[in-house]
Every structure is written in C-alpha cells, then in structure tokens.
C-alpha cells in the first residue's frame, strides 16, 4: 500500500523542520566563522557580512605562537592513539570472553558490564589523585592511559564475537596446528572487524569530546586538547577572542565530521542496542 501524497508531504515537512533545528547552530557557525569580531556582534547572525574567513584562520593559527595547531595535534594523538589501543584491547578481551570457557568468566564479564555504568567524571577524580602520586600529571599519559580502556568496547566485541565467529572454524585452525595468537589475528580480528570499527569510532568520539579528565590532569597549556583550549579562550565574559573561538570551533569539528561521513558505511549502530544481524 502506497502512502498518500498528503501524508508524504506532512511527514517530509516535519522531518525538514527538525533538520532546521539540528542544523541551525552549524549554519550559524559557518556564517560566523567568516566574520570579523565587530561583525560577529554587529551584523545579523544568520547571514554573511564582510568576508574575513582567511584572516580569522590566519590569526587562529598564529596567536600565542600557533598554540591552536598544537591543541589540534594533541586531540588527534589522544583520540586516535587512545581509540586504537582501546579497540585492540577490547577485541582481545571480548574474543577471550566469548571463545575461551574458563572459571569465573561470567563473573569477569559482569564486573566489566558494571563498569559501563560508572560515569567517567566520577573516576576522573581518583585517577587524578593516583596519577599525581605517580608523577604522571601534566604528561600525555595522564590522558592516554585512561583513554585506552573501554569496557563498553569489550561488551560490544564479546557480543559480536559470540554471534559471528564460528567455533568450528577455530577448531579447524587448531587441528591445522595454528597457534592461538595466530588464530586470533587471522580469523578473530578479521571476522570481528565491523564491530571493531564501531568500537574505534565510539572511543574516538569519547576521547575527542572528553573535557573533565584533561581539565583536571593537564595544567600545561601545550598538552591541552582542543576542547580545553577553546574553553579557555571563551572563558572571558567580554569574549575578546570571540572570532578566534568561532573559527577554532569550526576547525575543531571538521575532522570528526569528515571521519563520520567517510566511515558512516562501517558504523554499525545496531550493535549498540545489542542486536547482531548475522
């Protein structure tokens, strides 16, 4: 049964209205990044004034000896490094939990699952205290180490490995004399790769967006991720650096938006709800 034209028009109008809401701040950002400081507060926000994008960008990357570029590089290091290690560890742990029966397996898994429920900011304070005792405050490790653990990633990897990696295949490989590590590398990792892309993107976004942990563990401005830097620039009520904040906001969201657009095909959101389509 084909839906009527009227219902199609109404539905699309509704979807369009909602899209306006979600896109409005993004549109504002695009427009605002082309404006000088005075136009930012003096012209209509949803439409262009004089074109100043080039000079804003130039100022953005030269202010304070180009510290903004450093912040971007730090964010990439934390997000990609933390995300990659977390994904690998989650793959190994999830595979082990799904494919090797051992005593206490259920218990270990429920502990990991329980940890998903612990909000990150609540862990950040004790982690900060521990790291300061270990003299790791104000080093990249203060952000990288906590970012390399993803209990939720283990949960996803285990669920997926259970459903997708056939025991028979592992048995056959064992009979052929392959080592357990080789089986994991050539069979496990390969079959689990769709789930692993999701785990990686998840962790990438989580680390890129993280604010609380670097805020308390990093005092050295040169180690800050871009979120911290932009917040510092924006923390003056008079906003003397408003045009830099806006241009910086635009530049800082581009990598993730691009990453998502290019990896969208691999992103398996159905995994999040625990469903596995075999």
């Amino acid at each position: 049964m084909k839906p009527s034209v009227r219902s199609q028009v109404l539905t699309t109008a509704f979807l369009f209205l909602m899209a306006t809401y979600f896109l409005m701040p993004a549109w504002w950002l695009l427009v605002a990044s082309t404006k000088s400081s005075s136009d930012l507060f003096g012209s209509h926000g949803f439409w262009f004034a004089d074109m100043n994008l080039g000079s804003n960008l130039h100022q953005l990357f030269t202010t304070d000896d180009g510290v903004f570029g450093r912040w971007m590089a730090n964010s990439v290091l934390y997000a990609v490094g933390g995300g990659a290690v977390a994904t690998l560890l989650a793959a190994m742990a999830g595979y082990a939990l799904a494919k090797y029966p051992f005593r206490g397996r259920g218990f270990v898994f429920s502990i990991i699952l329980g940890a998903v429920l612990i909000p990150a900011p609540m862990l950040a304070l004790p982690i900060y205290l521990m790291l300061s005792k270990a003299h790791l405050i104000d080093t990249v490790w203060a952000v990288l180490l906590p970012s390399a653990v993803s209990p939720f990633g283990v949960f996803l990897a285990k669920t997926y490995a259970e459903a997708a990696v056939p025991d028979e295949l592992l048995e056959a490989a064992r009979l052929d004399g392959a080592s357990e590590f080789r089986i994991f590398r050539t069979i496990g990792l390969r079959i689990m790769s769709p789930a692993l892309v999701t785990v990686f993107l998840f962790q990438l976004v989580a680390v890129w967006n993280n604010f609380f942990l670097p805020l308390i563990t990093l005092n050295d401005q040169d180690l800050w991720p871009v979120t911290l830097g932009l917040n510092a620039w924006n923390s003056d009520p008079n906003q003397p650096r408003a045009n830099l904040v806006v241009a910086g906001a635009l530049v800082s969201v581009l990598p993730l938006v691009l990453a998502f657009l290019s990896l969208q095909r691999f992103w398996r959101s159905d995994l999040i709800a625990g469903g596995v389509k075999a």
Binding site: A32, F41, A96, A115, P121, M122, L125, V253
Partner: protein
C-alpha cells in the same frame, strides 16, 4: 592470555580508582592549630559523608539534575522515538539526508556545542534573541530560571540524533513481513507504530534511557563552559561540579572523594531501577 592486557589496564583505571576513592573518602587532612607544620592525613570515619549529606549546596545540585533528568530525558527520547518511527515509515523521503542531519551534532564535542549555543543565547551575538525581540518576545536564555533549560536544550540537541539512530537501527532489524501482515489485517500505520513497533524496540529504548540517566547525573561540561558567561551558574551547580570544587579548588580530597562515591552509588541505584522498571513494562506490553 588475551584478557590480560585489558585486565591490567582495567584494574588500574577502574578498580583501583574506585577503591582509592573509597579509602580517601574515609580520611581527612588535619591542620595544626598554627598552620606551621604541613597538614596531616588522618582517619575520619564517616565524617566526610556526614558533611556531604549536610551540604545544602550539594542537595540543591542533586535536585537540579533530577529535575533536569525528569524533563529532559523523556523529551529527548520521545523526540528520538518519534523521529525514528517517522524515518522508518513509508511516507518519509530523503531518509539518508535527514538521518545525517540529525546525527551531525553527535560529532561535535560538548564543549564546542555549548560554545555555539552560548553565542545563540547571548543577546549581544544572538540572531535568535534579536528575532524574538522583533516579534515582541523578550528572552533571557541565561537568566536564573531559564539557564537550566538552556542547558537542557544543548544536551537535547547533541544527543537526540544519536538516540534516534539507535532506535532506528533496532526498528530496521525487525522483519518487514511482520508489518505487512499487520497491514493486511487492517492495522493502520499509527496502530502498527504504537502496538507493534514500539514494543519491539523497547529494549533499545531501555538502553538509551539508562545511558541518558547516567549522562544526566554526570552533567558537567555544559554548565561549566557556560559558567564564565553568566552569574547564574554557581561553582557547585551540579553534583559533579561540587565534587570537583571540593577536591581541586578547595584541596579537600576526602570530601571530593566522598561526594564521588555517593554519586556513583546513586547512579548505580538509579540505573538498576530504570532497567527493572523497563523490564517490567516490556513484559506487561508483550502480554497484551
């Protein structure tokens, strides 16, 4: 063993910090009368907890996030469910484009999202405020009463698309024949949506609810980023801000740790309650 590397880091970054927080919360720093010798760390028993539970500012922070959660979580998830159902319906066009538009805010960090909305809230820079003024509707998005809902709007904007996608994927996993059969039996699209689709995606809704509740309790980034721009957000506006304020700004680790432990316990209790309630609701609906 494949579990070992993850296990080691997990213990170091989860188990030990939790234990450490509990131990720390039972201690306090004792300063000598004259302040000449460095303060000494002494056993405090439940003193820190008693002080936390007596702290009016902490309680008003808790009240604030609960109020926030009771309003924002249903609004956001209701919207996400509606969007997912509409995107799943046969009447929708350009689905891929709309899905991408709704999901876009997820790729924008909370700090940046808040900065963007802050510009749209402040009368100096906001086209929204000036347009509302033009219509004769004065607005004060950062005022005493409005600021909590302005924060709620940022959170809703950032997370609705993500939740829509989770529910939408769950819907897509349901075999289409089920809906066709219902349609043949004379079920209209509204009835199919409410009686068949919603119960089938109930687990996805429960999951998004739990994560949203946890997210609400750890509300921190948005108010913290807005704080320098308005006088209406105090240093202990939310419970996490309170814990941070105690531990880092007041250098009272024990007190901050006690607040963190209380919050973690509260979060666990609430998450389990949500899971239990949703399990019961799902069961009730399935037997209809």
């Amino acid at each position: 063993m494949f579990l070992a590397p993850f296990g080691a880091l997990f213990v170091a970054m989860y188990a030990v910090p939790v234990g450490y927080a509990v131990v720390e919360s039972l201690h306090k720093m004792k300063r000598s009368g004259l302040g000449l010798t460095p303060p000494e760390r002494v056993w405090a028993g439940f003193d820190n907890y008693r002080r936390a539970l007596d702290d009016d500012a902490l309680w008003s922070g808790v009240g604030r996030v609960l109020l926030f959660g009771i309003v924002q979580v249903p609004v956001m998830l209701g919207l996400a469910l509606v969007l997912a159902l509409v995107l799943d319906s046969q009447s929708a066009r350009l689905k891929g484009l709309f899905r991408a538009a709704y999901f876009l805010p997820y790729a924008i960090p909370g700090v940046v999202a808040t900065i963007l909305w802050a510009f749209l809230y402040m009368p100096r820079s906001s086209p929204v405020v000036s347009m509302l003024d033009g219509l004769g509707l004065p607005s004060d998005f950062l005022g005493e009463d409005a600021v909590l809902w302005s924060i709620a709007n940022v959170v809703t904007w950032a997370w609705t698309g993500y939740n829509t996608l989770v529910i939408y994927s769950a819907l897509q996993a349901v075999p289409r024949e089920l809906f066709e059969a219902a349609a043949l039996d004379g079920c209209g699209p509204w009835r199919i949506a409410w009686r068949i689709k919603v119960p089938l995606v109930a687990p996805a809704i429960a999951l998004t609810t739990v994560f949203s509740v946890i997210g609400t309790l750890q509300l921190y980034t948005e108010p913290r980023v807005l704080r320098p721009l308005t006088s209406t957000i105090s240093a202990d506006y939310t419970p996490i801000m309170s814990a941070y304020h105690q531990a880092v700004e007041n250098n009272d680790y024990g007190q901050g740790a006690a607040v963190s432990v209380l919050l973690a316990l509260g979060t666990c209790v609430l998450s389990f309650a949500v899971l239990k309630i949703s399990a019961r609701l799902t069961k009730g609906r399935a037997s209809l």
